[in-house]
Symmetry: C2
Subunit: 366 residues, 2 copies
């Protein structure tokens, strides 16, 4: 269909402008701010672009305009289910927007994060999503000096760089322990892996709740820096039992560990919840399906990603949210594994300063 081409075979804005009978700059404006054109020229440029199959050269645009339409996303892990839910939310929110996402994996290293941050900021991103609140001082300084909106996700804390969305892992852990107390449990163990800052804060919440009840003992806590897995859950639980055979409940820092504990109990023929109660964290999809069904602390990961991305776009477009720090809360979902009445899923304690509306979480996998 008679395409006009340059030597490189690419259709440039100039070709579109020529076909539409306007100047290149007018054609350019069509893509950035169509309202500024008269209706006649707008339709002319539009059809010319479509006819030629014009696709803008992002590099040229970025160079000329001194800004990119790239959102940088820094997360500590690609495989952790928790982050894949968040990511899905982020990608869903950007769907159809003009921004593209540049994802990088810090591998739970704040030094790595600092390096990536330097790299990102040099490309003048339109916005940035970073995980957590534990940056290096250097990273923190770079973030504060950055001239783009920034959202910190996964947890909330006292000094937001800019915007922040998450929940209190400390409070969530305390709520889980409070639930176990309410079910009559006293010797509650803690099982944790990876021990990133957020898991550490869950541990802190556990410790404080136990201390408040004068029930804390160091030997009730089993943790490792090893990446989490179901198998590891079984192994850590085995350690815990060896140290303290008299436990009557286990609070697991995440659901994979909880599933591992469940299987280990099956192996040892320990009755759940009669002999030992189990509470997980995150409420992954399988928790409701296990036998017995497993109590967990539900966190709004998909919503967190989606809202973070939406807030960021709004802020980039100049509409800063009235509320820069958003607490998405959590909810203890009581199931058979911790129910003294051995009945099925019933909401229990919940937290978060927000209204804590529970959105339907999309199923864990697709």
């Amino acid at each position: 269909m008679g395409r006009k081409r340059t030597k490189s075979g690419k259709i440039r804005l100039a070709e579109v402008a020529e076909l539409a009978g306007v100047s290149p700059i007018t054609a350019s404006r069509f893509f950035r701010n169509p309202e500024a054109l008269s209706v006649a020229k707008r339709t002319r440029v539009e059809s010319a672009a479509k006819e030629l199959g014009y696709v803008p050269n992002l590099a040229a645009r970025a160079l000329a305009s001194q800004r990119t339409e790239v959102i940088g996303v820094l997360i500590p892990s690609l495989t952790n289910n928790v982050f894949s839910d968040v990511l899905r939310g982020i990608y869903d929110a950007y769907e159809g927007s003009r921004y593209s996402i540049q994802l990088s994996n810090t591998r739970y290293s704040i030094l790595q994060e600092e390096r990536l941050l330097r790299l990102f900021l040099a490309q003048k991103p339109a916005g940035l999503i970073v995980t957590g609140i534990d940056q290096t001082t250097e990273s923190r300084a770079m973030l504060e000096a950055a001239d783009c909106p920034i959202v910190q996700i996964m947890e909330i804390g006292p000094n937001p760089v800019d915007m922040m969305i998450g929940f209190s892992h400390y409070d969530a852990a305390r709520a889980a322990i409070a639930h176990l107390f309410a079910q009559g449990h006293r010797r509650i163990g803690f099982v944790g892996a990876r021990m990133d800052p957020r898991v550490q804060r869950r541990l802190d919440g556990y410790v404080s709740a136990m201390k408040d009840a004068s029930l804390f003992e160091q030997r009730l806590v089993v943790t490792t820096a090893t990446p989490t897995s179901v198998t590891l859950g079984g192994a850590l639980f085995t350690d815990l039992l060896a140290r303290e055979p008299g436990i009557d409940a286990v609070f697991c820092a995440n659901d994979d560990l909880a599933l591992g504990v469940l299987f280990e109990c099956r192996r040892r023929e320990i009755a759940i919840p009669e002999q030992i109660a189990i509470v997980g964290f995150n409420d992954l999809e399988f928790m409701a399906s296990a036998v017995p069904t497993l109590t967990s602390v539900r966190t709004n990961r998909y919503e967190m990603g989606k809202t973070a991305a939406t807030m960021l776009i709004e802020a980039i477009d100049g509409r800063r949210p009235e509320q820069p720090v958003l607490d998405l809360g959590f909810k203890v979902i009581e199931r058979q594994s911790s129910s003294s009445r051995h009945q099925d899923s019933r909401p229990a304690a919940s937290g978060g300063s927000a209204q804590n509306k529970m959105v339907a979480l999309p199923s864990g996998h697709d």
Copy 2:
């Protein structure tokens, strides 16, 4: 430390060149082809760049050189464990290379894939990784016309666009059924969700194996287009039982479904493997940890991602692999859920035209 800055506050290549006492073009060469410089200038430029904290402007580089250092990656899902393992491999391989990854999610839609492909190709990526072999004709044409290396991942098929890495889902399913036959099972059900092309080929493998043994019946097959989940595994298995109470084994198209079947059997007090055997697909980490441990078909997902990325970089740098199509094979990992001897994990049948070396799979989550 007396930094020289332009009005934008950025350090440009020109500043580096000036400090090093060379021309800008020489400084430029340092970053692309350091060997072309004399040792004296090389060290001068290097220290100047470091002193000024120079970070190249990628947009300018892309515009001037007419190529980007971006690798496009098209996958159908962000949350499916399978793809997160592949992604981790890809990201690991790019670690430290000068390429960056642009990830897009096709959501299992080949139309969406076509749209994204058009977008990607317009930016002249350095290379492309696409999932599977079922592109639209238009996509296929674009891929073939693209002037960059391309790797198709997840499965292997007859007409590679360029390079290809994966394994035969058809053969893998046949091997799983052969294993069940060997254990004495005859009435084997199939449970599948999502039914993307690869799951479809697993179903085809199941059907052909069953037909070969004259054991195929349509009512043994229960599938849905719904995204997979553990809960769904239980539900589909319930359907299967209702249709055909006499089954003695279930082949699940993935491990989540298998876990759901396991839990459903627990709920119904069906003994595994005595009454019904279970075989999953992918060998996710938890399969070895379940009670009973679950048989699965191991696939080398992490290695697939890593190798795909490595091959792509090699090809970009002009070193095309001697073997453009790589079959990574699979391996039926026999565990308690399908063992008539009720013993623990023992390798059984394996496939793939490659030497089928089993690399240690990194644990499923981190």
